[in-house]
Symmetry: C2
Amino acid sequence: MPNRSHAVDRRSDRKIGIKDVSREAGVALSTVSHVLNGTAPISQEVRARVLEAARRLGYLAKRQQKGAIASLTTLYLAVPPGNRPHNDINLVSWTMLTQLSREAERRGVRVVAHNGSAELQAAEILAGARAVGAEGIVLVFDDNPKLLKGLTGADLPVVLLNGEDPAMGLDTVAPANRYGARLATEWLLSHGHRRILHLTWRGRSTIMRRLDGFRDAYAERGLPQDQGEVLYARGYEPDQAREALRDFITERGGLDGFTAVFCAADNLAIGALTELRAQGYAIPSDIAVVGFDGVAPGELTVPSLTTVRVPLDSLAASTVQMLENRLSFMNRDYPACRIELGCQFVERESGGSFVSIA
Amino acid sequence: MPNRSHAVDRRSDRKIGIKDVSREAGVALSTVSHVLNGTAPISQEVRARVLEAARRLGYLAKRQQKGAIASLTTLYLAVPPGNRPHNDINLVSWTMLTQLSREAERRGVRVVAHNGSAELQAAEILAGARAVGAEGIVLVFDDNPKLLKGLTGADLPVVLLNGEDPAMGLDTVAPANRYGARLATEWLLSHGHRRILHLTWRGRSTIMRRLDGFRDAYAERGLPQDQGEVLYARGYEPDQAREALRDFITERGGLDGFTAVFCAADNLAIGALTELRAQGYAIPSDIAVVGFDGVAPGELTVPSLTTVRVPLDSLAASTVQMLENRLSFMNRDYPACRIELGCQFVERESGGSFVSIA
DNA sequence: CTGAAAGCGCTTACAG
DNA sequence: CTGAAAGCGCTTACAG
């Protein structure tokens, strides 16, 4: 094996030390040290100034990384074949994987991708991870119970990214799907919509959490659940959204009183926009369209897509952090950890923006 | 202010260094350094041996702490008056607060308790925290929306422990209540019970998640929801559980076919045990009783209490860790983080243990 | 991967 | 809280 210079990866910023911090904060070197270690009583103002400078210069982050970095050098990444970049036109997968490698690179962690059977197998993944000397495994986009069970209790820590484990055998990191969907639906309700169509598909349990959130919003306002309806597409690709909507409109002879479509993914929303416009509906005046994911293409559609942004970068960061925590300070009996990160509503054109009436 | 020797708190274990690790692992000093920093290619076996030794000696943990410790010296703790130790016979509150101070102490963090109005007020809490120079706030057992909203976006990071924030404005750390309740209910179902009474109270939203989990278990097996029933006590104290059960039995003229009581808290379960025994029922043969919390008294009841253990120590650790993460490496726009930790089913006597029949 | 050695960055004790 | 100084622990380069 060639003598890869690991060290280079790890200090992209050339040696920021407490000397730099002391200069930046305008205090003595020793004062910085005392603040950082709590070894002497320092006034609140100076403390704050020092910490602020240390954070700004990236010194705190560097120090934190140095503490954790030891344990994770190689991360084994298992992605279902259907979600690998060359097989998947879904930008969510692509962006999430990109963020994950970027985060790994930032920490000097090598990423090795799993390549196995058409369907992911726990034993294969574990063997692959051991073969390359990985200290931890990240499983993405997959949460079939058999696979999760097979990975539970393995001698390597495993984090499931963007999936859920009902048995709580594995640590998981996911966007707050239910919350985000409630947020979007509530936004539509607060803008006067009552008949909202939720366009989704059954493929992933995390996507089903968005359906839960859709219902939560109605429940929270005490509105009858049947004002909202659910329309299932056969997949998550734009064309499948078009197909589902086309059938819906044909069957009902029009929009049937619906004034908004809330799509469980931007991909579906893009299909919805296309189909609705093709059928001559104006967006958002005839019907509002809201997506979920917040990936790039939504900015470029006409009209631009109102959506819920999933914090893909933070999800990647939390995932790697979780692995490092497991490796460096959590003991074996620390319970499984389920992490959800907040999503943000992004108001653009397709959702409309008439004055709030509720 | 006296010259408190902060440093002492922080190295309870007297200076474990890489020299100790190298001895423990049986390798050269330089090898340990290379492993910890990835500065040279080291074989998988040696790496593993070194890391194992470093973890065992607590060196990894020490290093990790050193990275984060800087930013948090004083933690401001806000507890609703009703849950403060002298007003509360509930061991959950007591244990959780104890674990939190223990964790803080372990990290050399000073804890200052808030003392304000009968009802917690956001502005008061923030003022109090600033007055003592705290870098972060932990709010426990309270999740009234107005309070949470008032603390959202504050210039100090706030973590809500054992509560939920539907608006996801704050970071939260809580046990996986829904999961734990499903686990317990499923255990009862798998042991042949069908008519299960869920004894709970309406006081806290986190407790209501346990009701969700109770229902999940029925739903998962495709059993009719009305086989399980919910009985509300007027509070969470043993006597209030007794009262609720007494009324129930009087009203129905007996147990009405129920073969198990699943209580949303050990406190309620203890009351249930007392009342059921007082009325002449044998536990678990006439009726099984299962609690939730896993605090000490459940081991001492007769029969001992089958329950779901909440990882109070890990919850405290995650809470402090969360604050430190916010302070040292998460930037302002890192989204709010919701953390749930897994619970564990603890099989003792009161739940029975006949052979699994399903 | 070892082991001795040089060097660096941070910590610490102290006078001001 | 400063600043100069001693010292410690870890890192690093190198010969074996």
